[in-house]
Symmetry: C2
């Protein structure tokens, strides 16, 4: 509902008695692909009691700020990532009363996807981690309830690759179909048949649009690949189902 002590609420004032104003924060799970692997951005909180722990970049929401703006600011301030064109979508809001021992904080989690960035994030206290590494928490301790948010983010990305054109958010334009295929392979963790993948992508209306550019082959040769740009499709019909 929309009003502090909303209109409908106002009718039954008794029920507003124990209402609190929570702190509202935004946490961002930024995924990207490097070296053919799906990576997650984490930052190192520098409070002494959390030394050795990692967390999603997050910020409290300011008065005049939209939630999306807070997400962008968290990335910029904590990891020096300024990607105004990055895909950003809400993941879920985590608001269990006990999720933070220090008080009631409602956190709006975001999923962000970007093409492989440079390495500015390896400055100060930000790093990209292999999602497999994060998943099994091998020596990697995630602060707060971020160990619940991270799997949700990864599963969201895996799932949306199936029925939306989201995979194109991981590659810079223009891109080759091999690059796009490697996105699917990295996110899903399975190899795909290049021939069938190509046929599926180009036959899905408005998924990608062909350009007349060619990408130069790699150092060991090979036929130059056509370059494509994002199409205007948001949802894929039919879907690209996981094998």
């Amino acid at each position: 509902m929309s009003v502090p002590g909303s209109t409908a609420t106002a009718a039954v004032r008794t029920s507003t008695a124990r209402v609190s104003t929570c702190a509202v924060a935004v946490d961002v799970a930024l995924l990207t692909i490097r070296d053919g692997e799906l990576k997650l951005l984490l930052v190192q909180p520098d409070s002494p009691e959390l030394a050795g722990w990692w967390a999603l970049p997050g910020r409290r929401v300011r008065d005049d700020e939209s939630l999306d703006d807070t997400a962008h600011r968290a990335l910029a301030e904590l990891a020096e990532i300024n990607a105004p064109g990055a895909h950003l979508e809400q993941l879920r809001t985590y608001g269990d009363p006990s999720r933070d021992p220090r008080g009631r904080v409602v956190s709006v989690a975001y999923l962000a996807l970007t093409p492989t960035p440079g390495d500015p994030a390896d400055h100060h206290r930000a790093r990209f981690f292999d999602v497999a590494e994060v998943g099994i928490a091998r020596g990697l301790r995630l602060a707060y309830d971020h160990d619940r948010i991270v799997p949700d983010a990864i599963e969201r990305a895996r799932s949306k690759l199936e029925y939306t054109a989201l995979a194109t958010a991981f590659v810079k334009e223009p891109f080759t179909l091999a690059q796009l295929r490697r996105v699917y392979e990295a996110v899903w963790g399975v190899p795909l048949d290049p021939a069938n993948f190509r046929r599926k992508v180009v036959s899905t209306p408005n998924f990608v649009v062909e350009t007349d550019e060619l990408a130069p082959p790699g150092p060991e040769g090979g036929r130059p690949a056509k370059r494509y740009r994002r199409g205007r499709a948001i949802r894929l019909h039919p879907a690209m189902l996981r094998p």
Copy 2:
């Protein structure tokens, strides 16, 4: 992020200067099926300035209350709907600074699905509306930004019917496949072939499980239908794609 002025934030205290504590509310879009039509529950705010307007049932979040609990309470207090078994999932969080003229309110919107309830909701100021009626806003004015939330809720339901077993949340157990098919037809707004629908449902692993019960035919006869219960599948493989 998880802490009021979270740990990472603490490192850059300057950025917490303009941080606010927002009011946090929960709004619920409850969908159900009546008379073969998809219906949305709306309540009438009784503040004088919103006379004639309708809104999603919503409540502010209490100190000790989870977001899910707030959603249940909103339904119970504003529409006398107590459905602890109802499907409830987060839809999205709406937090634009300007979404409410009276102050900053961040609202966590929920999608709720229930089997056709009785008519307790037709008490005081709650009613079920045809979603088609709400969609074109024919004489129906939605308060706040609820005209943005409602289409999101409907599209979420339509979409999740495709790749999850969510349709079973609309029917009481045990149910016939004709009842389940009417769910799809009502939510998607298209007729489905009964024969192909049946084959699809029973061949999707763990979507439904057969019982040995039979449903009595309607007043005009017909072969008795087998009754089914929900299977343990959450996601459908393969999906039930919209025609």
